[in-house]
């Protein structure tokens, strides 16, 4: 008996020593066109290049995933006409950027498309994922692995998601699908709080291939809530043979004074290439860097290597950019605000992890709207000036200025008009085991909030569609 016990202990220790998270492989040779990049994907049926739709899904556990799902259902119902062709706004979606809970919806749609509307509720939204996670952690067969320094709770979570939600899919599955949307799952680099996206463009800086990497691990990293889940680790191998850094980075590194935004975006990326400083990247919940998931879309429009910027000089330029930001932010009633006693260490720890996530979501959406407004203002001035010059000094002295209109739609519980209903949704918890009735309510509210958005209503009307019960035209229009 003692021998058996000793053997069991030895076997456990051996297993613990062997257990290791899947390592992202090095790239044999860099190819600017290979791998999971926007340019590798085709528009697909019903998707035009000139109407460019991007969605961003925020964090917030099952609540966020359900809100995003509700918005997807409404986009699918929204019929429009673009360039004389009938289509739906869902078919026109070109990119989805997500963090944390929203990443489950984004990845599921990217992999399984219309199955989202038949299987996602059973596969994830109405599943008690928390219980499944705890069950795996308490399973004695997993203890030896959890004892390994190279295997932790996040790897257990990724394994669960891989087996029960994402069916073993890797990024190769997304590449082989060939159709948009381009799904950008965002995590946060624990070292510096910088956004980290699961795309080949990002993995180029690690000298690694994303092709064989499980999508479930990217989702796990994106939703690795601090303290409850451990960080997920990826390997930085140094620059792959043949790697050429885009000039966006070489020029931005010169711009510490002239353009701090560009500099601070470029610096951490270039640092990944330095093996003396970075060999491993430990990733936490994407909400720590940007809890609304909108920053990757903004970067894509602003940076010269961004997939939105790069469409400017092509034969199929964007004529209209639509951004739908789905924000599942809550504002729960907090007992500490009614107490003279300061919160304890656990309360402070939890608040530190969560409050910072919500800090910049509002500003991020406003920055996107400001960008659209600036562009529209310059265009109006330009057109007015050209018209006036044309009237008095023909021929026109100004060259045409190519541009596109941007419409930013935000879906947020804050837009609920009824006080009691708003408080109900703003008090929903952030967890992976929401009651089915709450899931249904959030899904329905996602669709309702989108329909009630004056931005969305005016956009759909402009695109030849109708919004049942949509608000009348207002100043917040996207015409």
């Amino acid at each position: 008996m003692r021998r058996l016990a000793a053997l069991a202990v030895l076997a456990s220790l051996a297993a613990a020593g062997c257990a290791h998270y899947p390592v992202n492989p090095p790239l044999a040779r860099w190819d600017k066109d290979a791998g999971y990049r926007f340019a590798a994907l085709e528009p697909g049926a019903g998707n035009s290049d000139s109407l460019f739709v991007c969605l961003s899904f925020s964090g917030g556990g099952t609540r966020a995933a359900a809100l995003a799902y509700g918005v997807m259902k409404e986009l699918r119902r929204t019929a429009i006409v673009w360039k004389g062709q009938p289509t739906t706004l869902l078919a026109e979606v070109d990119c989805i950027s997500s963090v944390s809970g929203g990443s489950f919806t984004a990845a599921y749609y990217g992999l399984f498309r219309d199955e989202l509307f038949t299987s996602f509720e059973q596969d994830f939204l109405k599943k008690n994922v928390t219980r499944a996670l705890i069950g795996r952690a308490l399973n004695p067969f997993n203890w030896p692995r959890l004892a390994s320094p190279y295997w932790s709770r996040i790897d257990l979570a990724a394994e669960l998601y891989d087996e029960t939600i994402f069916r073993g899919a890797t990024y190769r599955t997304l590449i082989d699908a060939r159709d948009r949307p381009f799904v950008v799952l965002n995590a946060t680099n624990m070292r510096n709080g910088v956004r980290f996206e699961f795309t080949q463009d990002q993995f180029d800086f690690l000298g690694s291939s994303l092709d064989t990497y499980p999508v479930a691990r990217a989702v796990a990293a994106s939703s690795a809530f601090p303290f409850l889940l451990s960080p997920l680790t990826v390997r930085a191998w140094g620059p792959a043979p043949g790697f050429q850094m885009h000039d966006e980075y070489t020029t931005a590194l010169k711009d510490f004074d002239l353009s701090p935004v560009r500099y601070h975006r470029a610096r951490p990326q270039v640092d990944y290439l330095d093996q003396s400083r970075v060999q491993y990247v430990h990733l936490l919940d994407g909400g720590l860097a940007d809890n609304i998931g909108l920053r990757s879309v903004e970067r894509a429009a602003q940076a010269t290597d961004g997939f939105i910027f790069r469409r400017r000089g092509t034969d199929a330029p964007i004529e209209r950019l639509v951004i739908v930001a789905v924000n599942a932010r809550t504002d729960p009633d907090d007992d500490s605000s009614l107490s003279a006693r300061a919160p304890g260490i656990i309360g402070v720890g939890m608040k530190t992890a969560t409050v910072s996530m919500e800090n910049y979501s509002f500003e991020t959406v406003q920055a996107a709207r400001q960008r659209a407004d600036n562009e529209a203002t310059v265009t109006r001035m330009y057109e007015d000036c050209a018209r006036l010059l044309g009237e008095c000094v023909p021929p026109r002295l100004l060259d045409p200025r190519p541009t596109f209109k941007t419409c930013v739609v935000e879906v947020s519980f804050e837009a609920i008009k009824d006080d009691a209903e708003r408080r109900r949704f703003l008090n929903l918890p952030t967890r992976f085991d929401l009651p089915a009735a709450d899931v249904d309510a959030v899904v329905e509210m996602g669709a309702t909030l989108l329909r009630r958005s004056p931005y969305y209503a005016s956009l759909v009307r402009t695109l030849g569609g109708t919004v049942p019960d949509g608000p009348a035209a207002s100043d917040a229009e996207c015409e």
Partner: protein, 79 residues
């Protein structure tokens, strides 16, 4: 927001901004962020200079800075 005009005689050409397509010649290009950009034209490589690095800050939509590329004589074009 920053503005730049890239002049090139003749037919419209694609302007490369940091190597990416960023608009066309003889129109006003828009940049959301100030900063340094490397400007060139898409192939064929029948122009000089091959590339211009330009810092953009506090530019105007109606009087943007202009950088000019000139055609190479046919004998100087490297196929």
């Amino acid at each position: 927001m920053e503005f730049l005009k890239v002049a090139f005689p003749g037919a419209s050409r694609v302007v490369l901004v940091n190597g990416s397509p960023g608009g066309h010649t003889n129109t006003v290009l828009t940049f959301e962020l100030s900063g340094t950009y490397r400007i060139s034209l898409a192939p064929p490589n029948d122009f000089i200079p091959p590339v211009v690095e330009v810092p953009l800050a506090r530019t105007s939509a109606f009087s943007p800075p202009v950088i000019t590329f000139n055609p190479l004589p046919p004998s100087a074009i490297i196929p």
